[in-house]
Symmetry: C2
Subunit: 367 residues, 2 copies
């Protein structure tokens, strides 16, 4: 059965960079091959660059983006720990759920969906939580929150609280600066602005988080102590200690995409996302469509827009898919049929993609 050639303009996955696809299909290396270890080291270095961090514990986890969230809480939450979670969309809700499973006492700070996280309200929720968690780029609403401000406010108050940021949709799409912002724990996914197929969760963990980590986390597969011994070498062992078989094809693909990003320049890449997203948002408004996310906080890489009242949301998406091979996203939860989400991420952050989806959407809405 031949598969369709989709143009993936939903909330992810996006179409990978050609270099990333070539990396997937390259001759496979074993996970203990010296060449692979070198490639892995390089990929981790390149990840440090896009994260804006010098954290030694920076690595791609062997699962899709959500495994980053799982690893974040699994390695830091002790039963009874207070975890303040800023909730302004689906992924904030999910953080509450995951943190609870590790026994956290979750304090949920709810925001109107479509609005950014309010630093003051988050800080007011508890004087000294173990962790404050927020989503940088809410994939469910297309909203950017100011993690820099949250980090600065937290740091001015205490050095005890760890700051956790979900960067699944932000990394390599808008500026991310883990060290400068004082973020302790962050994770992303490969299938958004990094321009790689889904399958890995880039992850970074500060030295402060490392010192306070759970030494034997409940989840063996995500035990950062054991993972570190493979990815970064075990202290005193002189080498890498096998933990689990790394997904070598996916890592080669990630490395190839990171090389491309490095070649273009990270600033140029985020500028490309900005410019293309601005054009899309302008074009949608020219068509009379109303943005969903609050003005001034709209992600360029993922645009949410209200479905006009008399339009069948699912029908439009279906026509885009079947007539144009274009995938855009529905909303989730309460927003399922009232917003669309259009992603211009990674390799798809291009003006031709913006014009294409604008044109196709205009045609479908007209007829």
């Amino acid at each position: 059965m031949a598969l369709s050639e989709r143009i993936l303009l939903g909330p992810g996955p996006s179409n990978p960079y050609p270099e990333a696809t070539a990396g997937l299909a390259a001759p496979l290396l074993g996970h203990l091959d010296p060449e692979f270890i070198k490639l892995l080291d390089r990929a981790c270095d390149r990840l440090r660059t896009v994260w804006g961090t010098a954290n030694p514990v920076t690595l791609p986890l062997s699962g899709t983006g959500s495994i980053g969230m799982e690893a974040a809480f699994a390695n830091t939450v002790r039963p009874g720990d207070v975890v303040v979670v800023a909730v302004n969309g689906v992924f904030g809700v999910r953080m509450c759920e995951v943190a609870s499973r590790y026994g956290a006492e979750v304090i949920r700070v709810d925001h109107t969906w479509g609005e950014p996280v309010d630093t003051e309200r988050v800080l007011a929720a508890h004087p000294s939580p173990a962790i404050v968690a927020a989503v940088h780029a809410e994939t469910s609403t297309g909203v950017e929150s100011d993690i820099a401000a949250l980090g600065a406010a937290l740091r001015s108050r205490s050095t005890e609280t760890l700051l956790l940021a979900d960067c699944v949709t932000s990394l390599a799409g808008i500026p991310v600066a883990v060290d400068a912002w004082g973020v302790d724990i962050a994770y992303s996914g490969t299938q958004k602005c990094l321009g790689v197929a889904p399958g890995l969760a880039p992850f970074t963990f500060s030295e402060r988080a490392w010192e306070r980590r759970v030494e034997v986390p409940p989840v063996w597969y995500l035990d950062l102590g054991l993972l570190g011994a493979y990815v970064h070498g075990a202290p005193g062992s002189g080498g890498r200690v096998y933990h689990h078989t790394a997904p070598t094809a996916m890592i080669a693909s990630l490395d190839a995409a990171l090389a491309r990003i490095q070649e273009e320049g990270l600033d140029a890449v985020t500028e490309r996302h900005r410019a293309v997203g601005a054009r899309l948002q302008e074009g949608l408004q020219e068509m009379g469509l109303e943005p969903f996310a609050a003005e001034g906080h709209r992600l360029p890489q993922l645009t949410s827009v209200r479905v006009p009242e008399d339009v069948d949301s699912a029908k439009v998406r279906e026509r885009l898919l079947t007539e144009y091979d274009i995938e855009i996203g529905a909303g989730v939860g309460d927003l399922a049929s009232t917003i669309w989400r259009i992603g211009l991420m990674g390799h798809n952050a291009r003006l031709d993609r913006a014009e294409l989806v604008l044109s196709a959407l205009r045609r479908v809405l007209e007829r």
Copy 2:
């Protein structure tokens, strides 16, 4: 940096089938695309065939083989549950570790490494454990254990105990018959006899295991209730409920490899592994090398052989890698420098690979 083209004859990963590589590089589909859902359904059906099961809960988990072990225990162990683990190699030891993290009272039944699991001893360990766990094909030693016998003995005693089998290195290499053997929980990895890159853990779970599962397992990412709502559809929802972004490229690759296995015929595939492994083991003995695994219990797809006393194990592996681009495996743990492990798995289960590694090894040992 150009990467070497390795011939992967270690304990895995093995070189993927060409169809699997093409599947990885095919145009990417979104995880909610109707075409992808159809592909996923088909891949799950094909997995049922290779597992020998009608279990509705049969799916590829989004991580490498070890995540299958994690999911197995995370979804079944309640604190205090007695779990009897047959240990005859590294992966038995790992099962003890993982089960313990979920609060199991582990009863470890140790065997000499290189020997198969002794059904009588495992049964004698406890009259009514919640779970009995054993490794079908011990990757660390090259030994096959008789899961059919273990299942029959368990079933004749009780229907309360769940039987868990690690099939990472066995699936599609030697016969596996989950339903006929009475196995309740089994997992594998794609990078061995299935002939796919590492990145997925095929998993199957009996209806009896489902009824007794932990409803809210500690690990959100591996919650079979939530995963099932995406992979198989949620009862009453009329559709698939998003859980996490599935690794669509890897799943397309798995589906393509399963199609190839189906075309060749599963019996023909296991027969090919058997014949090629027999030739390798014969050839190694002709060279004067001594098998490590007990006679009558040697895996054809993964052969362990003792390193001759005056030979530097690491040096030989290094020469095979640098001079011939051939990867074979060292031993692990106490066996690190005393055995080699040679895999002829999936696409590498071919006579030309057997002769190649025999010839190259002979040359390296001679000079």
